[in-house]
Symmetry: C2
Subunit: 145 residues, 2 copies
DNA sequence: CCAATATACATGCAATTGCATTTACATTGG
DNA sequence: CCAATGTAAATGCAATTGCATGTATATTGG
């Protein structure tokens, strides 16, 4: 049976996550921008640089189920934010690249996202508290053993 | 622009939340039990006691959108875990009660849920760390201003 | 070489979610 | 009293998610 602190921590984790996420999604929608999941994908694509990235690798970075990424890429491609080509060295796979429009879209999303983080996180925690929070949460984020 | 600690905290929050949630949902599904959202609702219904609770109040406790709760209650009712009656004093509303089966279902879910929390949270944090985590997260959980 | 197995990705279908709107009753100000 | 407004809850419809499975290529053990 978990002790009371464990339960309090987990409850607070769920609540905080919902509250912040909700606020971010609402801000993005209000600004006429895509969902946060698009941002995450676009950012990873940008980090991957001009060589692009394979979906199976992207899936690891984004912690998404395979089918979920497959469909996210469908939507990003339909919106012309990414390109998909066959992988030269693996007939099963493909390589995904960010388009110019994809880059610009992420850049337009960032100020809205950032503003919400300031409001919902930075204004509420000192730098030390934020660092401590990150440290504690990292302990929970490792792959389940 | 958020500082690096803010970003680290937010990223870790999202990741930790996903990892733990995923583990809980998988454990429940493997045990042939309903989703975590059902647990939360059943628990609140249990807390409400024999007088039951109005959906609009339940929605505040569960932090769910109105339509989302309405449909969750549809499913719980179809599974005979709750009863819904018209509210005696408000013709627009209803009162929701837990059934015997609803109570037993929550009781069957708890060991599975608890075991996952032990594994994913309690084993990874000292009691002091858990308490500190809860304290920090609570600062993020207040209604957005 | 090749059968067995593993990996990469897609997809049909059912369940769930989100959004906007609707229905019904309640409350309030004139 | 009653029109206007507010609140409780449901619902049509489109989008998203989850699950199971399918298709295609790659790898590996004998």
């Amino acid at each position: 049976m978990p002790n009371q602190h464990t339960i309090a921590a987990w409850t607070a984790l769920v609540t905080a996550n919902r509250r912040v996420l909700e606020t971010i999604e609402r801000a993005l929608k209000t600004a006429g921008l895509p969902q946060l999941s698009w941002y995450d994908a676009l950012l990873e694509l940008e980090k991957a640089g001009p060589s692009g990235i394979r979906p199976f690798a992207l899936k690891e970075r984004l912690l998404l189920p395979q089918y979920s990424l497959s469909r996210l890429l469908d939507r990003l491609e339909a919106a012309q934010l990414i390109d998909r080509h066959e992988a030269a060295d693996d007939g099963r796979g493909q390589i995904v690249h960010l388009t110019e429009l994809g880059l610009r879209t992420r850049q337009k999303m960032w100020p809205v996202y950032a503003e919400t983080l300031l409001h919902c996180v930075e204004d509420r925690l000192s730098p030390n508290e934020a660092a401590e929070l990150a440290r504690l949460l990292a302990k929970l984020a490792d792959a389940p053993s």
